[in-house]
Structure formats: structure tokens, C-alpha cells
């Protein structure tokens, strides 16, 4: 859990922990937790780690997260005082990235829309997904503009939700009655926090932590069978794809338009329906890990990627600010 949630949860459940981590970097916190937990287990600080998350954001706050509902105080201090007077929204921050990407590389709105369409195909297979009706590129482009160039259907849903992941030693995992999934490599990095400090509006910290995670796993992008990328917005996926090395910088639009990320493609994306269609309770990173594990255990039902052996989960926290990459595999490294 992130922030001070873990100490509260430890008290509530009566857990006498030997290791605790409340790293809070936004929606990618859970990818950072995996990196930290795996290191702690390797170091012998503890044997088993519970990573968990729960949020009733929709019930409590409504659909206000992306469009200004999160700002409360009149007086703003710290770095945010230089942004707060101008009424940018969370959607607006990602929209600035999309705008710059389109300017630099000619990326088109229909290429971004393709991401939402492909993820919706998987949502149709998930009975728990929030939106399951088929979607077309025209539907996305016809949905109202929230912050140019991002339409409503370029944006993730707001939902309630929660989940948990248990990490333990490989030795202990062998005794369990579920197939183990191994952490092959994990890394995290940050380029900025506030959007106005983003050094390159077309490049995220995935360009650093992606190659690091691959190096630790001894793998390359070609080895990945399914992608679970943080789809807060369609542009988030596009930037992460490029930065992780699945295509060259600037080629993300053409790459997704080729249909690689669709059901039946060579790199199925967000097979649970993603944040764009299934669930996004504010910080979605835990679900990337859960869906990657379901795929590697062969328990993803109709959305199962045939013979999935390696999955990549990549979370984005803040405004493409803090990125965490985790490579998971079916076989002991």
C-alpha cells in the first residue's frame, strides 16, 4: 500500500511485520513495491510480502479526478504554486504530452483512438469490466473533447476497486497450490513530478527503467508475450510503448495502427480491459500485476494469450512522472 496506509493496515490486521514499504509515487506505486519487496526477500529481510490496494474513489468523489475535483485549497505552496493558478487538469497534463507528440512526430488522433478500441475488445471478455460494448475509432473521435487533443474516450474510467499480490521466496512458492510466477526484473525511475517540469514532453522515465528492468531479466522486448501498460489515457500507452523499446521514438502511432496490441496480435495489451474500459480507482498499478499473473498462470479465460511465458507490467505515476517496470515470467530465472 502507498503512503501511511501500510501502517494502518498492519494495525487493523494485527500483522507484526519485519519489512514495510509505503512508497507513494502515484498509480505506479505497486510496481515500485514489487521491486522493493523482491529486494527485501532476496536480502533476507523478510520471507513473504503482501502488496495491496483498495479505493472507493467513485463512490466517494464521483468522476472528478481528471477534471479538477482534486484541488481543494485556495492558498497553494511548494512547487504547485507555479501551476495551480492556471486551472490545468489531470487530463490537461497528459493532453500536453499528446499535443507535443503529435507536433513532433505527426501522431494522429485516430492512432490514439485505436488503443482505446483494442482495450475495449478485451473488456468485452471481462464480466467485471465497467464498459463492455464494442467501440470504434469513430466513436472515440466523436466523443466530446475534455482537454485537446484528448477526447472523453481517450481517458480512463473512474471506478472503485482493489486488489492484492503476494510475493514470497521461490522455495516457499513451490509448495503452493497455484503455479508460481517469478519476478524476472524490476526497475523504477522519475523524470519530474509536476507536469511543467517534464524535461521532454514526448519521453518518460520508462526510457530509463525499461532497459534497466530488461537488463536485470536478461530479456529484450521481443521476448515479451503480453503487455500490461498503465492506460490512464491513450497517450500514456503510446509513450510507454516507445520508451520501453517496443518501437522507435515517434513510431508509436504507426505501431498501434498495425494492430499488434489487439486480441490475436503479437503483443496483446491490457487483457483485462484496462483502465480505459475495466477499472481505474485512482491508482491502477496493482491491476497490471494481477492481470500479468493471471496470463502467466493460464487463467485469463477468454482473454488468455496462448502460451504466455513473459509479461511486462509498466505503471505511470503522476503525469508520466514516476514509472515502474516489472517483468514477470512463468519459469524460474
Amino acid at each position: 500500500m502507498a503512503g501511511d496506509d501500510p501502517v494502518r493496515m498492519a494495525e487493523y490486521l494485527g500483522i507484526d511485520h519485519r519489512f514495510i514499504d509505503g512508497t507513494m509515487v502515484g498509480g505506479s506505486s505497486f510496481e515500485f513495491h514489487v521491486q522493493h519487496a523482491a529486494a527485501a526477500i532476496r536480502e533476507g529481510l523478510c520471507d513473504t510480502v503482501l502488496i495491496s490496494y483498495g479505493s472507493d474513489y467513485l463512490s466517494r468523489m464521483g468522476r472528478t479526478l481528471g477534471t479538477g475535483g482534486f484541488r481543494r485549497s485556495h492558498h497553494v505552496d511548494g512547487p504547485d504554486q507555479f501551476d495551480a493558478p492556471f486551472g490545468n487538469s489531470l487530463v490537461g497534463a497528459y493532453a500536453m504530452v499528446a499535443q507535443r507528440h503529435m507536433h513532433a512526430f505527426g501522431t494522429r488522433p485516430e492512432q490514439l483512438a485505436e488503443i482505446a478500441v483494442g482495450v475495449r475488445e478485451f473488456a468485452a471478455l471481462n464480466p467485471d469490466a465497467m464498459y463492455r460494448d464494442p467501440l470504434t475509432v469513430d466513436d472515440v473521435l466523436a466523443s466530446r473533447m475534455i482537454a485537446d487533443p484528448l477526447h472523453k474516450l481517450d481517458c480512463c474510467v473512474i471506478s472503485d476497486g482493489g486488489g492484492a499480490v503476494v510475493l514470497t521466496t521461490a522455495e516457499r512458492a513451490r509448495d503452493l497450490d497455484v503455479p508460481p510466477v517469478y519476478v524476472l526484473g524490476a526497475a523504477g525511475a522519475q523524470t519530474h513530478w509536476g507536469i511543467s517540469q517534464m524535461p521532454d514532453f514526448t519521453r518518460s522515465a520508462a526510457a530509463r527503467c525499461g532497459p534497466e528492468a530488461f537488463a536485470r531479466a536478461g530479456l529484450r522486448p521481443d521476448d515479451v508475450d503480453t503487455l500490461q501498460l498503465y492506460d490512464s489515457f491513450t497517450i500514456t500507452v503510446l509513450v510507454l510503448l516507445e520508451d520501453l523499446g517496443f518501437c522507435d521514438k515517434g513510431q508509436g502511432g504507426a505501431f498501434v495502427a498495425d494492430g499488434h496490441l489487439r486480441r490475436g496480435g503479437r503483443l496483446p495489451l491490457n487483457t483485462d480491459g484496462g483502465g480505459l474500459s475495466a477499472c481505474h480507482p485512482g491508482m491502477r498499478g496493482i491491476f497490471l500485476l494481477i492481470e500479468a499473473v493471471r496470463q502467466l498462470r493460464g487463467r485469463a479465460g477468454a482473454a488468455q494469450v496462448p502460451d504466455a511465458r513473459v509479461a511486462l507490467a509498466c505503471g505511470s505515476g503522476g503525469w508520466l512522472s514516476a514509472i515502474g517496470t516489472v517483468l514477470l515470467g512463468r519459469e524460474h530465472p
Binding site: 485556495h74 504554486q81 507555479f82 493558478p85 504530452v97 507535443r100 507536433h103 466530446r144 514532453f201
Partner: protein
Amino acid sequence: MEVEHAEHWQRPLPAPDAAAAPFWQAAARGELIFQQCRRCGHRQHYPRALCTACGGDPAWQTASGRGRIHTFTVIRQYGGKPFRDELPYVVAIVELDEGVRMMGNVTGCDVAQVQIGMAVEAYAIVAAEGVGVPFWRPAAIAADGGRRATQTR
């Protein structure tokens, strides 16, 4: 830069610390300033207690008040006041001629006219005592002999 006075400032108000206060005070006087390191020359915004490049001591420099739009968005949905009463509006990252970037609103033209690379100039609105907030509008006439610097679609 020109200075206007807000009759009734309803937006979030900067609550400056020691590092930030000179920026807002200067803007209230019509000066746009940014930090440059005394030791390594690195330029930065927002203002900080030290240089992010070398840890040195930043000094203040006065900017020309001119820049270009590096990226932007048009906000068309916003939940909170006062912004929801001002929709649609432009939020941009402006790259100053001096190289540093800052967030701001671009006013004084239709939102459809705004594009990346557009030349803009700063003006300030005084929000409270000693707090001037920089805003941006299309740079109507460039200094070099009246060439129209504003790019339009």
C-alpha cells in the same frame, strides 16, 4: 511587462516561501524573473533554494517577457470554480526566449488559434499584495521592425 490589477482574484493564490517570493513580487512590479546559477550558469524555473545542476547559489535574472508555446491544451471540462466558468481556456507550457519554461494561460485570442511554436508575450495580473501572476497573449508585433510574430492557422 504590463501589469493589471485583479478586482476579485478567485483562483488558487500562491503562498510563497523564501525562494519563491521574489518571483511573485517582481511580477507584481511588471518584471518577469528567473534563476541563473552564480557558479555554473544553469537556468531554472520554478525558483529553488539551490541550483539543480550543481547545488550552487541561484541569482535572479530579468527575462524579456517573450517566449514561444512549447506545448498546450485547451481545457474544455473542469469541475471547480472559478475555472469552470471560464471554459474553454488554454493552458500552455511557454518556453521563454531565455530558455526556461513555465506554465501559464494564453489569453487574447481564440483558443483555436493557439498552436505550438506561437510567439507569446507576458503580462501580469496582481492577485494580492506582492503577488503578480504572469499570463500570456499572442506577441502582436515583433521587435524586429514590425514583422508579425503571431503565427495563425
